[in-house]
């Protein structure tokens, strides 16, 4: 594979995807007339559509290219990541999806603020959302720039600007309707691409994955089937695991998707579809990783990209030639665009629906004004992501996705859960829990070896672990609970009956 050489099929596939998605956006724009359309696709998305869109939001280029690369270079260790990304979904299903759908309107802050004082809670919850969105967005943008440079030969800056502009078009004009359909198209393409690639690999091993794994262990030693260096410190491993598991239930762009369906039952069934799609995808990724290890070879993968990110595209070239490589490259691009659009919409909702409408305008903004501000926030976030994407060029941003998950698990998840299920929870408790969770995560990551030793080149780090979740998640719960118990809030406690009623029946209690 000639990296940086434009591939005709890749360019064509990429152009077709952009064209198709802009047509979707055009149709969506004609239907986007209210905030209900802009943020929640008119609550008209079906279970299977939302399941695919959730999968589309969740399966980033990092999980496709990154995990395939990790498996190709280190075997079993890649599986640890795939599993971590999947086990959060039963948590989302059991604790979050249905109550969220029944209690809120557009953002998860709606739920936290349901029976608490609107303004302080909204500011805190929006801050938690924006922190997660910002780190996730930067990681995706930098990944996009690198990837597109390798796949298409465009310069890093050009790639970042293109991604930013196309994503802006989706969200600005088509809102949630366009974003959802782009996600669905992308999820289907990604699943199809991974499936075809895996089948082409397995064809060479008479459709027996074990024959593939056996060949890998013959070539690279039986160690590739066993845990290696990735999990060296048990505390760090558990800590990362908890952040992945509970972080999923605190990702604003995932939570927002539950408002796009008509009712709680649809929300529930959509999680089942999403989990089936995501789990299947990760199992396929595992085949792709070992396929690349055996059919491409580790030296050839490392030669193109030391991190292994090109393992899946290289494999596509080996088993399917230039045309298939082009297809997979176009799918990878589509993947990045869709995830970035979902994140931007979630960020715009936090800025406009939570901060502007509820805090600055005290819930008195007109529909037209709200849409205008939402679109303004979208432009702001697109510019922000392009500028930061370029500013972070050349940085290793892998830890940023981990950081986003750690903040989501430590700041958003505890407050969301306590607000829905713990009667004595108070405004101050929610505020403190979210702010503490965000600040503690940021500080501990700053003091960790990832920043102090790897990035700043110091010899030691102040905090020994790379993943703070094991400490920050329980502490954030404790802060929320203790603060609430110290100063009870009568109105919040009394509102709990109203909340319970609406969680189950999905409608307000009659006066």
């Amino acid at each position: 594979m000639q990296t940086g050489e434009p591939n005709v099929v890749a360019m064509a596939g990429f152009a077709i995807f952009i064209g198709l998605s802009l047509v979707i956006t055009w149709f969506a724009a004609r239907r986007t007339r209210s905030t209900e359309h802009f943020y929640a696709a008119g609550r008209s998305i079906s279970a299977i559509q939302n399941g695919l869109a959730l999968a589309g939001d969740y399966m980033s280029a990092a999980s496709f290219l990154g995990i395939a690369g990790l498996v190709a270079l280190s075997g079993f260790d890649g599986l640890i990541y795939s599993i971590g990304f999947l086990v959060g979904w039963p948590v989302v299903m059991c604790l979050i999806a249905e109550p969220l759908r029944n209690l809120g309107k557009f953002t998860f802050s709606d739920v936290v603020a349901f029976r608490l004082r609107q303004e302080p809670v909204r500011v805190a919850a929006a801050a938690g959302s924006l922190a997660v969105v910002a780190f996730y967005l930067i990681a995706q943008m930098v990944g996009a720039g690198n990837l597109i440079r390798l796949l298409f030969g465009l310069s890093y800056e050009t790639a970042v600007v293109i991604v930013g502009m196309v994503m802006l078009a989706y969200v600005l004009f088509g809102g949630m309707i366009a974003t959802t359909w782009v996600q669905i198209v992308k999820a289907v393409l990604l699943l199809l691409g991974a499936f075809l690639l895996a089948m082409m690999v397995l064809m060479k091993f008479s459709f027996n994955p074990l024959a593939l794994f056996a060949e890998a262990s013959r070539l690279y030693g039986v160690g590739v089937l066993a845990p290696g260096r990735l999990v060296s410190d048990p505390v760090d491993a558990i800590s990362l695991g908890l952040a992945l598991m509970f972080g999923t239930a605190g990702l604003p762009h995932i939570l927002m998707r539950f408002y796009t369906v008509p009712d709680a039952r649809t929300a529930r069934v959509s999680v089942a579809y999403a989990t089936a799609a995501i789990g299947g995808f990760y199992l396929l990724t595992f085949i792709l990783g070992f396929g690349a290890m055996v059919l491409v070879g580790q030296p050839a993968i490392r030669a193109v990209d030391a991190g292994g990110n090109m393992a899946a595209p290289l494999l596509a070239e080996v088993v399917g030639g230039q045309a298939f490589l082009g297809f997979i490259a176009a799918v990878a691009f589509a993947t990045i665009l869709a995830v970035v659009a979902g994140l931007t919409l979630a960020g715009a909702a936090a800025l406009s629906h939570d901060i502007y409408v509820h805090v600055f305008r005290h819930s008195r903004a007109t529909e037209k004004e709200q849409l205008l501000v939402a679109r303004g926030a979208t432009i702001l976030l697109a510019v922000f992501s392009i500028v930061l994407g370029i500013a972070f060029k050349g940085q290793n941003v892998a830890y940023m996705v981990g950081l986003a998950f750690a903040i989501a698990a430590s700041a958003n998840f505890p407050a969301l859960l306590l607000s829905m299920f713990w009667r004595p929870f108070t405004t101050r408790g929610a505020q403190m829990s979210i702010l503490f969770g965000t600040a503690a995560t940021l500080i501990l990551i700053w003091l960790s070896p990832t920043i102090q030793m790897d990035l700043l080149g110091n010899k030691t780090a102040y905090f020994p672990y790379r993943n703070p979740g094991l400490f920050t998640i329980p502490l954030s719960f404790i802060v929320g609970i203790v603060t609430s118990l110290l100063a009870p809030e009568t109105a919040a406690t009394e509102g709990f009956a109203r909340l319970e009623h609406q969680i189950h029946l999905g409608e307000e209690e009659p006066a």
Partner: protein
């Protein structure tokens, strides 16, 4: 409190217990898997048959567990919870 409302309260409590149970199972299974990786790498390296180590088998089983838990939850809520909610909504509309 009417019968339908009491039934909804009961079913809601049962759903909450099921949610906690399933979340706990997932946490134990997953954290257990990570702990095995952290503390007993040689065990997971055991090759059961050519190409299949215990680690890979357990990893795939964790994914299957997640699927199974989701199915149990969806089945139960579709069968029990939704009916109680629908009855309760109906009763309220008729009572009005």
């Amino acid at each position: 409190m009417s019968d339908t409302q009491m039934r909804l309260t009961r079913v809601a409590a049962a759903r909450w217990r099921l949610s906690m149970l399933l979340t706990a199972i997932m946490t134990v299974v997953y954290v257990g898997f990570i702990l095995l990786i952290a503390f007993n790498k040689p065990l997971l390296a055991t090759v059961l048959m050519p190409g299949l180590s215990l680690g890979i088998l357990l990893g795939v089983l964790v994914i299957i567990t997640a699927w199974a838990l989701i199915l149990v939850y969806v089945k139960w809520t579709n069968d029990h919870y939704d009916r109680a909610v629908a009855d309760s909504q109906l009763a309220r509309r008729e009572g009005r």
